[in-house]
């Protein structure tokens, strides 16, 4: 099976720091791939590179087996790739619906839409639908997001991403700020998204989470992928070993 999204030999330096050093990555349709690694291993840089937020020094990105140039976030958006950033990137003064459709508002029918008027009713309906599909804890679609709990905000950001991503979703530390129950919800949401055939890339520091939800785990260290594990038959020791370099496992080179 061809991966939906594949990166080959990505390199990028910031000054003398090689953030990505011939790094590889791949994710297939309907699977959850966890991307783990110590701080500074290059996870976030990798996500930026594959979402059009970073210019690469070298390397190629393939989408559906074809080489693509992701030079602008809109390139990634057009391909159906969405990212949920760690800081969620929500506008606190806008309500959940407005946030969800921000930049992609549904225009009002006819001439009014041409003047920039919006179909708020339709947007609210769709937003409600998306939050329910996620097993929603978002109750009010009309109060500002800034008044909501971390879990609710997280859900809005995820709902927004999967509403627009029809191929790949990147989740950057989605559970870092969440309590036990919300974390459960997010993990359930991830599985549900995967079951719809969308590829999910999960960046996380939490080993138990990763081992529970990921079909495959790719470990990065010093700007490159050093190991790939099957989610089901991996031990914590193996992961930590690969992350710290105590265990050299990577057989695959690009």
């Amino acid at each position: 099976m061809t991966p939906i999204l594949e990166a080959r030999g990505l390199s990028r330096s910031f000054g003398s720091v090689r953030a990505l050093d011939e790094a590889d990555f791949d994710v297939e349709e309907g699977e959850v791939v966890a991307l783990i690694g110590d701080n500074g291993a290059g996870k976030s840089t990798m996500v930026k590179a594959m979402s059009g937020n970073l210019a690469l020094d070298s390397g190629t990105v393939l989408f559906d087996g074809r080489q693509v140039a992701l030079t602008h976030p809109s390139d990634a958006t057009r391909l159906g790739i969405e990212v949920v950033y760690q800081d969620l990137a929500l506008a606190p003064h806008l309500d959940p619906t407005q946030n969800m459709f921000l930049g992609r508002e549904i225009a009002a029918p006819g001439l009014l839409g041409w003047f920039g008027f919006m179909n708020n009713k339709e947007m609210r309906r769709k937003a409600r639908q998306s939050f329910n599909d996620l097993g929603g804890t978002v109750r009010s679609l009309t109060s500002p997001v800034g008044n909501m709990s971390g879990g609710q905000r997280q859900q809005i950001a995820i709902a927004r991403a999967i509403a627009w991503a029809n191929r790949v979703v990147f989740l950057d530390e989605p559970t870092a700020a969440l309590g036990v129950v919300q974390t459960r919800n997010v993990l359930e949401a991830i599985k549900r998204v995967r079951d719809t055939g969308i590829a999910v890339v999960l960046i996380s520091h939490s080993m138990p989470e990763v081992m529970e939800v990921a079909d495959r785990i790719q470990v990065m260290r010093l700007g490159r992928r050093v190991a790939t594990f099957k989610g089901a038959d991996t031990t914590m020791e193996q992961l930590v070993g690969a992350m710290t370099g105590a265990l050299e496992t990577e057989g695959q080179s690009s």
């Binding site: 919006m118 009713k121 008044n147």
Partner: protein, 392 residues
Amino acid sequence: MTNTPAAPDLSKSDAGRRSSAPPVTENGDGAADPDHHNESIWARLRSRQTTWIFLVLVVIVAFFAIKGGDRFASTGNFLLIAQNLVVLAVLGVGMTFVIVTSGIDLSIGSVMVFASVVSAKTMAAMDGSGGTVVLVGILTAIASGAVWGWINGILVAKAKIPPLIVTLGTLSAALGLAQVITSGNNISIMKVTGLTDFGIYQRILGIPALVWVALVIVVIGGIVLHKTKFGRYTYAIGSNEEAARRVGINVDRQLILIYLYTGALAGVGAVMYLAQFGTTTIAGATLTNLNVITAVVIGGTSIFGGIGTMFGTVVGLFIPAVLQSGLVIIGVQSFWQSVAVGVVLIAAVWVDHSRRAAALRGAKKKSTPRRKGRSRDSNPSSTPATSSSTQQ
């Protein structure tokens, strides 16, 4: 305004959900949603600074109506107040947009003077007093205002200089250039009777034409701000500029347009000023910018961006004007108006600030029951009700 269509919409989606999703969840939510919505109309009204400040205005008007009697509470007096506000109102429309983006435009008064000077000089140089001259005058005023707005916008959006600094610079530059153009002498356009007659005598339904012009501009501004994508992006930028960028909004373009429109509106204000007074007043606009900013901020627009209404700005304009008029009528030195406006401004922002801090505390408190409520046993309406009542 949006609440009426929202209610049936929600119930519709509830019905849809009931058929598709597990019933346990739906009973709880389905019962809670309409309740919550009714609650939130009140909660939202009460939680808005605009509502409170509007009540303050009502109280002030009532006070002077009682104290001043018919001399204050007469159609003539209210029309006079409105007429004195037309220029500030037009400037306030642009300023509201700018402040909602968390920007500021200090140059607005100088730009207005500059536009009025260019426009007056053009009209004075032309022959005649009617349509063509007036049209040219209007267009030159709007164009010269828009140029300054565009400069502000480019410097803010592209050069990333803080708006305070940019517009402080253009405040000085625009006024200076206006003086250079005129050698510091005011220009009379009394001969352009087509414009001055309109400004001074023309009435529609008994209300001065300029008041209508201002009203139309304010209403259009309000619709654009509250109902269109342009308005929504304005809030988004003020709320979280980075988020707006990430979802693909062209933030730079939006900012440039907002400052440009604000400049163009200053041009419109310049024409209205000329129509009202028949002459430029180069030295007379030193406090215009601050008066406009004061009105916008009293009206509940947050200087930190993301919050604000056009209606609030209108209310914020009326408070100083009503104070001014009322104090004169009841025989208090009108200098007290400045004192009172200062107090209202600080009080309004302080009340808003502490209310918001209380809302934040409420939000933190309410997240606990909500987390527990995740099991969704019963408790249909109590959680949302608490959440909205804690916000006040």
